[in-house]
Amino acid sequence: MFLRRMIRKAVRSYRKMGIQMMISISFTTVTVIGMMLLCGMLVLRFSNAASALQQDTGQRMIEQVNRQLDTYLRGMMQLSDTIYYRVLKNNDLAEMVPAESLELLYEENRSALVSVSVFAEDGSLVTAAPFFQLKKGVSPQNQQWFLRALDQIENQHFSTPYVQNLFDNGGEYLWVISLSRHAELTYAGEIRRGVLLIDLSFSGLEQICRNPELPGGGYFYLTDRNGEIIYHPDQQLIYAGVANGSPIDVASLKDGVHQLEVDGVPHQVMVKTVGYTGWKLVSLVPSKNLAGDVDQFRWFGVALLVFVIFLLAFVNMHLSEHISGPLRRLNQAVNALEAGQEQVEFRQDGCIEVQHLAHSIRSMVSTMRHLMDDIIEQEQNKRRLEMEVLQSQINPHFLYNTLDSVIWLTENERYEDATRMVAALGKLFRISLSRGKVVIPLKDELEHARHYCTIQSIRYKERFETRISAEPDTENLYTLKLIIQPILENAIYHGMAAMDEDGCISVHAWRDEQNLYIDVRDNGLGIPKETLDSLLDDSKPMKKSKGSGIGVRNIHHRIQLVFGPAYGLQFFSEPDEGTLVRIHLPVLDEQAAERYPREGGQR
């Protein structure tokens, strides 16, 4: 469960990684796993090879020592045969004791021998070399080697080490290994039983076993077939009771290699039987020492592995940085572009694919910018055209109606009114033109409204009066042109038409911080609720009305097109009470007004 959670977490982290980290970790992980497997296999292989080599060396050494022992002991047996068959058998001891021959053979082998002696069945000395008589009180017939020789007459018998107690060795107490055999001794033609004894110097045997040094701090020792120590490097300590004897039951082990625990420590034990004697040559090597050099190799392997891992991580970091750097920079540039930054640099570096990608993105962005500029320009053109269309919707209707009224006045010989109307019309159009400006001074717009009201008042036979005023702080402000007149037109057509000379329309401009408000109020019939709701709703069809035919919706759209959706018209109306149309505009001074384009798109 925990593992699964960890894996999921790792996968999530992996997915969130940058390309550099992803490349770096992936490469490093794969190579580290590969290196670990490789190192593991190498160490294992080397360990096995080293252990096998050590074992092989140990085996060869034990075989070599065994051969030397066998050669040594067989040499002694051959000497015994020579003495017995060439010296003793060929002589009648009653006639001559072959002391000289025995002496010669002893001298020939004196480095390995302590003594050679022949005993009669009663233990009396027949002959010996290099000694001539036994110590006082010695009873050879009671000694083990003597008894065994007479007991098993067909064999030669090797004893375990002991201190010779036969001859006076000049105050020396010599450790020997006895080789004894039953001997048929001829006395005056009569065959009598006797014993041939060759005492081998223990030091000869000790030298064979002690000299070779086993690898890994191992050692050899030699036991008889019952496990009694014949040679051991710590033999004197064993005899002193300080060290233990054979640490394993050698008698139960067959020849070969064994893995055994000795005093709780694993050891490699090799056993080899020494030819005729049945002695067991044993080598003991602590198993951990067999792999002594492997430890060094393991340390080397671990150090090398750590070094290679870090080196790989280092190289991979830089390599992945080299690969992913251009991609990352490209990504940062795209992010900056998304954030709206205009000056974004797309560097074309890295590998050829990334360079191509950067080039493509740069081309694409460039194309996109051009397209956007085109779209903006088209949009501006479209707005301008809309404006012009909206404005152009005013003029023809109004002109037609006014001229119609002038005709009517003239026909009715009301020349003064006609003159006033035509004069007002002229001023009206002069302001309308405003030298092509879209945004004009508020006072001009109010003047325009006044002239319009003058014209309409004449047309409607003075059935309403007009009051136009402005707060002092609005004097120098600017407004979109021709926005009051259509509202006045609606107020007149819908509000004043039914009035009997008591109609009143007021236009009042006032300022609230950065907002300019122009209230157009009438005391007409008011606007029904459903009509009021649909006045500015583009989803509902525009009602046809009298007058110029310009809907308030057009005014509203014009304001919003120029100043944004925060501005426009607001309607407040109560049936039979009148209507208030509030024009909401931003406060524009002359400098701000200059920024707005003239008609035809000129600035």
Binding site: P161, Y162, V163, N165, G171, Y173, W175, F202, S203, E206, D234, Q235, Q236, L237, Y239, A240, G241, V242, D293, D295, Q296, W299, F300, V302, A303, L304, V306, F307, F310, L311, F314, M317
Partner: protein
Amino acid sequence: MKRRHKNFIQLAILAALSLLVILSVFFREISWPETREDRVEISVLFREWESGIWTEVRRGMEKAAADCGAELRFLTPQEANSAAEQQLLIEQELQNGADGLVVVPASPEVLENTAQIHRGVPRVAMESAPGGGSFPVVPDNPGIGKMLAEAAAEDFPGGGTALLVNPVPGSGGLWERLDAAGATLRERGISVLVCEGEQEWKERIGQADFCLLPDPALLQPMLDFCEEHQIQVPLYTVGYSKDVADGLENGQIAAAVVWSGYGEGYQAVRQAVLGKDAGPLEIPVILVRKEEMYEAENQKILFPIGN
């Protein structure tokens, strides 16, 4: 700048790791340099050397030194059994930086005095166990005395006079042997004469039926004296010297309690190298008479084997 700093750290780690790889090639040489400084220096101070009884002890010590990686310095006072000189030698060795001491004390005070000054250096006492924080590697001294006395009592069931000679009056271990022997002999109805000086034992030996020596150093002078003055006194002694074997062989020694000097020396040095209490050390002792000296188990202790 930060990036360059980071790269520098990475390169430094790489350099350190590459050094580690190189060092690992010489791992064994670095880990276990066999320098003289690593070897433990043990000073061995006998109380005397002339009697030659310490030869086997020294062989055992040298074997232990080879096994434990120690270096031994053997020292003996110019005047045999001189406690004062031995004390000076000990001080001198400790000042020279000995890592451990093995001492056959000429007097119990020798190690006790040292113990108060040099507490950190392991001290092993042979033959006598003076205490004072030293590790004793000694045979069972009272047991030895008792074994000798019982052997003598067996040979003299009707009683008699025993001469107990201590050739090293300052040695506590020898006194332990003699005290135990004297007590046992008295229990068995045997009169006991105890003497120390050479003149004293020479004067009294003619009065004794047998003589008991707790140390073989006096063996040869006594045998020579008896032969010279045609005095027939059975001897009961201890030790692991050739003189003891010879004495048993020719019947001059009636019985001897023997143990392995080789094993004793080995354990003493091993204990000194170990430097802490390894628990009770057993030194097997056996009583040997002439007729038993070639028995398989007896000869293993009585006669040293090998080189």
